[in-house]
Symmetry: C2
Subunit: 440 residues, 2 copies
């Protein structure tokens, strides 16, 4: 087992992020570029000490940047590089570092070339996008018209990025990352994520307990949300060492957690994993939903290409629909009530038989806020899966509001389907790898 | 018509927001308390000049607050008032204003009383929550253990709020608003929102054109997103004048826009408006979905109490399902294809007849990314509504990715249902008022 995988990084560079934009000070929009930049910084072990937002006002930018340079070694500025009158980040930055700002002939040609290529007239206002701070390096922006800039001042570094997320991310990858790579001499922090559906947090913690001592507590973290847990492992060091440590840790975690791991990385959803398993095995599925009201069908069909394995479904909200569309006998409904293992079993087998699929998923429950009783409280949900044999039925008592209960019920249903598909071909070794799903 | 409804507010108070919390500097969490506070500030005409985030470090808080006090008249600080070692906002603030911090006997009693009421032992660490900055006023927190504080220094005002959103919002309402009300002498800015589904932005702009001159350009703003437009009117002044101006402006806008306005305010969704109309008229609905894959059923059933009017639905993804569940003739499918006005009309009338409801909504389209052809490109969607007579069928060419096409198709379908229900009882006067829906 790897040890010391989260060695402290020695450089301890301190960074600050400054977002410029009056719209980011209103009640409607959150600044979110900094999340992407924070992730990049963290990967290289750089400590983010401060984030701030100021309006498109030259003097506000100047003052804030001056303050930040007193505290941080690296300042990343986002936004305000456009062609309009309120794009004044260049001016504010030049003032803060006491330098001039002048039209750059080479940059002007680049800009003219871009407009010409798109057959557009370049407005005079765009000229300001060719202005470069004395001594700054121009950062190309193949995704838009606003170039970035990078400069050094008194041993501190400043990057100017455009505010459009796609342009900023591209520039961070092509300009900031190589710079950080060099400054940090290739040392970085890397994280991998295992995603687990429908396992309780305490159960999971129990299973992965040995890993805390084997990897070191710092290397492992657990993040729980409704119906999903993410287990993250982190390694520090140079590229090859990191990969080897992460490979070994994820292998060990899969061993400990078993087939509850439904995916690695953020690239795939539970419904896309289920979809790929169905497609890979040439199987079809239909749904019969009551309290989830179409959510499971909606999730399955959110995946491009789902028509290859999802035939259709029914939402049987009224009891009459359960009788009419799924042939649930009236006496079963009467004797046990719509929310019962008996009815959900009938729903599943009825849907499979009548709609003609390999599998049928069925759900019946009480999503709330109304409709609960002492014996059948809000959150009580039965799910059923019909295949070749007797339908498999599960009972769950879910916590939370209507939205959460419905979501959790859909998670449990999709995971039941996933596990069934794994079982038919041999179990945990079949857990698909992230690379396979990214192609979706 | 009201004129000068957005008179400039005279006080021009400048505010800054400082959020404290190391977790807010990571790649996973956005600071969002400031949106609520920005809204409150805007309502009183206070200009927010800066937002910043620092870690739970005494000296970082001290430095940032010192900088902010140089620029703003009012500083709102959020977070770091808890009982743990890294809750150091009190210390940082006291240092910045050069005052002492001492245990307050009265506040200690309040704290002890809270713990006693819940039968909990108060840990020693909680003692720090009774520490008050010299000269500060304690702000009660009935929703949690962390009290807030308010102080004046050199003619500037500082508020300390807890970081838990529910507690912060409650304290902003009970403490900040009355203070602002007094400071601004009752002058405030108020906004009302009209929500419109399925009207193009340019069409809408054309309809409301007279309002720009009647109200003044400043009083009116339009915010468009997928399948929805929000028209906002704003008035400044004292309470009664504001209300009168807003009443008159919204009346006029409803006159100009007509029954495309589906709701006023943020309290209701399109599906809840449709639901209330159905319930009010004692009508039932069923759905027959192809490309939306259950999304319309899911949205209708997201509303508590929807079992009163939504009976059920079918998701007929495969053509066989359209034949089997909705009795769409094979020759119609073959001749026109599944995505055609003929098939969607058959789907709607089949669903209504076979499932036995007053209305049936049907959708068939190409959500993409695959499946498009020259004559039937991605984004082509037919929607149908069957009632007493011939089904009404609409054709839409929707733009965007799979998720957006599906969402837009569900918006158009729900709005078609809404308009039909309005028509049956006399039209635009029936547009429900926000107050009615808030009770949902």
């Amino acid at each position: 087992m790897p040890s010391g995988v989260v060695a402290p990084i020695m450089h301890r560079m301190r960074a600050a992020i400054l977002a410029v934009g009056s719209e980011l000070l209103g009640p409607d929009r959150l600044e979110s570029n900094s999340l992407y930049l924070a992730q990049t910084l963290r990967r290289y072990g750089v400590v983010l000490v401060r984030k701030s937002i100021v309006a498109d006002v030259v003097d506000d930018i100047r003052r804030e940047l001056t303050a930040l340079l007193g505290d941080a070694d690296l300042v990343l500025i986002c936004g305000g590089l456009g062609p309009t009158a309120d794009d004044v980040t260049r001016e504010g930055t030049a003032l803060a570092v006491g330098r001039g700002l002048a039209e750059d002939a080479a940059q002007l040609e680049v800009l003219k070339g871009k407009f010409a290529r798109f057959g557009m007239r370049m407005a005079d206002t765009n000229l300001k996008q060719a202005e470069v701070i004395d001594g700054a390096r121009v950062l190309p922006n193949p995704r838009g018209s606003a170039p970035g800039q990078a400069l050094e001042t008194d041993g501190k570094s400043i990057f100017l990025f455009p505010g459009v997320p796609r342009e900023l991310r591209g520039m961070a990858r092509s300009e900031l990352e190589p710079w950080l790579e060099e400054e940090t001499e290739g040392e970085a922090v890397e994280t991998r994520v295992l995603r687990i559906a429908c396992v309780g947090e305490s159960t999971l913690e129990e299973r992965i307990l040995p890993a805390y001592t084997e990897f070191g507590r710092e290397a492992l973290s657990v993040l729980a949300s409704a119906g999903e847990i993410q287990v993250r492992v982190t390694a520090t060091g140079h590229s090859k060492d990191r990969s080897a440590a992460l490979d070994s840790m994820t292998r060990r975690l899969r061993q400990l957690i078993g087939d509850s791991v439904y995916a690695e990385g953020q690239g795939s959803s539970l419904e896309s994993v289920v979809g790929s398993l169905l497609a890979g095995r040439g199987k079809t599925v239909v749904t019969a939903e009551s309290c989830t009201g179409g959510l499971i069908a909606k999730r399955l069909t959110a995946v491009p290409g789902s028509s290859g394995y999802f035939l259709g479904g029914v939402v049987t909200y009224a009891d009459r629909m359960k009788r009419q569309l799924l042939e649930v006998p009236a006496e079963v409904l009467e004797e046990h009530g719509a929310v019962s293992p008996e009815v959900v079993s009938w729903m599943a087998s009825g849907a499979r038989r009548l709609l003609g699929a390999d599998y049928a998923l069925a759900v019946s429950g009480i999503a709330g806020p109304g409709g609960g009783t002492d014996s059948k409280p809000v959150g009580l949900v039965y799910i059923g899966l019909a295949g070749d044999g007797e339908p498999e039925v599960q009972k769950h008592q879910l916590l939370g509001d209507r939205k959460r209960v419905r979501w959790m019920a859909s998670q449990w249903s999709l995971d039941l389907m996933r596990r069934e598909l794994l079982r038919t071909e041999g179990g945990a070794e079949q857990v698909p790898d992230v690379a396979e799903w990214r192609g979706e």
